[in-house]
């Protein structure tokens, strides 16, 4: 049995609703969701992707990227192709802005092929080759500017279009949730897209012809 004078929920409510000014103030609390909705706070979470021009520098968080062109080829020296598959590549210039090397094929969410290009792997590149040496890039060292070809294998694009849309996701250097002390580039909701013109595959990454 609660004693008279004790503070109960009922007593608090009676206190808050005791006078008209207090009732008016309390009703304003009910208007808070209305105000938030009017300001646009309940809008969709992902902002729409922004278009960038090829040849211009884009800061995607992990990289400064200059997208150049795309190509389709069957003779790139990056592994074997199945029957009916071909390589689709994007020529870009990338500079790692972080403090640690980024393994471009393993844990990098930045570059994505458009969804309408059939690709049985992940949307991130299958392989990345350096244009200057023709070898795998492996890890992009911080501060070094590389000209690379991002490669995917596809069964489509038999008749390559004049333009291909490459998506570049904005990424942030975030700490792991599970273990403290580790960081990784994680994709945020922001993204850029660029219409790449069709070009030629760089000669340095093509298979050498057997004499």
């Amino acid at each position: 049995m609660t004693e008279p004078g004790a503070i109960t929920a009922r007593a608090m409510l009676a206190f808050l609703l005791a006078t008209w000014p207090r009732r008016v103030v309390l009703s304003l609390v009910l208007l808070v969701p209305v105000v938030v909705a009017a300001v646009g706070g309940f809008g969709p979470a992902d902002p729409p992707p922004r278009e960038v021009e090829p040849g211009t520098v884009t800061d995607t968080g992990a990289y400064r990227v200059v997208p150049r062109s795309f190509f389709v080829s069957e003779t790139v020296d990056a592994g074997s192709l199945e029957e009916g598959e071909r390589w689709v590549g994007a020529r870009v210039q990338i500079t790692n802005q972080g403090t640690q090397p980024i393994s471009v094929t393993f844990d990098d969410p930045t570059f994505e092929l458009p969804a309408d290009v059939p690709n049985d792997g992940s949307p991130n590149p299958y392989e990345v080759l350096r244009v200057d040496t023709g070898a795998r890039l492996g890890s992009a060292q911080p501060g070094v500017t590389y000209e690379v070809a991002l490669l995917w294998r596809t069964t489509g694009l038999q008749d390559p279009p004049a333009e291909l849309t490459l998506t570049m996701n904005q990424s942030a250097w975030t700490e792991w949730n599970i273990e403290a002390g580790y960081h990784t580039w994680r994709a945020t909701a922001d993204a850029f897209y660029v219409h790449l013109p069709r070009g030629e595959a760089p000669a340095s990454i093509l298979e050498e012809e057997d004499e």
């Binding site: 004693e3 008279p4 004078g5 004790a6 503070i7 206190f15 005791a18 006078t19 403090t99 640690q100 090397p101 350096r130 200057d132 040496t133 023709g134 070898a135 795998r136 890039l137 492996g138 890890s139 060292q141 911080p142 501060g143 070094v144 500017t145 590389y146 000209e147 273990e179 403290a180 002390g181 580790y182």
Partner: protein, 236 residues
């Protein structure tokens, strides 16, 4: 026997008097109630200062203290990763240094924009080749990670596509071998230090790494990579 009976009587007397006191306490309680009722009605009229028992204040204070302690622990945990057992051992060039199960002797480093690797390759940044020898203390082993660190704290690891000559190699117990390690760094990099990690540091385990500041010679000629070779006893 008699003594206990008298004590018992005393007990009863004591308890009876206490009981009387209790009853007096009850009357005090009723006084509290009457006083609190009047104060409460006063509080309602004044609109502030509701009378709260002391016990509730104490509970609220303890709750606030518990929340504050939790928040402080979170802040410390987030900002100061528990790594009291990660040691960075500082070393110098041209001396033997022991880190974990490795004995290391760094000779020096050279940098150039070109590397001779079958053909001459020009880097978008610069190549750095580190000349060092190492041995282990107990069994054949290869260091798990060797990186370059610049003044800004950026790390540079082994580049791909340059063959196996510029990579870490296995060394034996007191069997020293000398070789070169290749790195590719941006052209604007400042002072570099070599960090040799026998095991890749894990936040959950003790680890020891060696850091040696490098004096880097600038070469105008393309750099070459030496394959690792075993040294004669006493040589470094």
């Amino acid at each position: 026997m008699s003594g206990s009976t008298s004590e018992g009587a005393q007990d009863r007397t004591g308890s009876t008097s206490e009981g009387a006191q209790d009853r007096t306490g009850t009357s005090e309680g009723s006084q509290d109630r009457s006083s609190s009722t009047s104060e409460q009605s006063q509080g309602r009229r004044a609109g502030e200062g509701v009378h709260v028992r002391r016990g509730r204040w104490a509970a609220a204070a303890m709750l606030a203290a518990a929340v504050a302690a939790g928040a402080a622990a979170n802040a410390i945990d987030a900002n100061f990763l528990a790594s009291g057992w990660h040691t960075v051992q500082r070393g110098e060039e041209a001396s033997d240094i022991t880190v974990d199960n490795f004995q290391v002797h760094v000779h020096g480093a050279a940098t150039s924009t070109q590397l001779e690797d079958l053909e001459v390759v020009t880097s978008p940044g610069a190549f750095v080749v580190v000349d060092l020898s190492y041995a282990t203390t107990d069994a054949w082993d290869t260091p798990e990670e060797v990186v370059l660190i610049d003044e800004a704290g950026r790390e540079f690891s082994e580049p791909s596509g340059f063959g196996s000559a510029g990579r870490v190699w296995p060394a034996g117990p007191d069997i020293w071998s000398r070789g070169s390690l290749l790195f590719e760094v941006p052209a604007d990099v400042g002072d570099l230090a070599l960090e040799l990690r026998p095991q890749t540091p894990d936040a959950r385990l003790p680890s020891r790494v060696l850091r040696v500041p490098l004096t880097v010679r600038t070469n105008s000629e393309p750099l070459t990579l030496e394959r690792p070779s075993v040294l004669a006893e006493g040589d470094r």
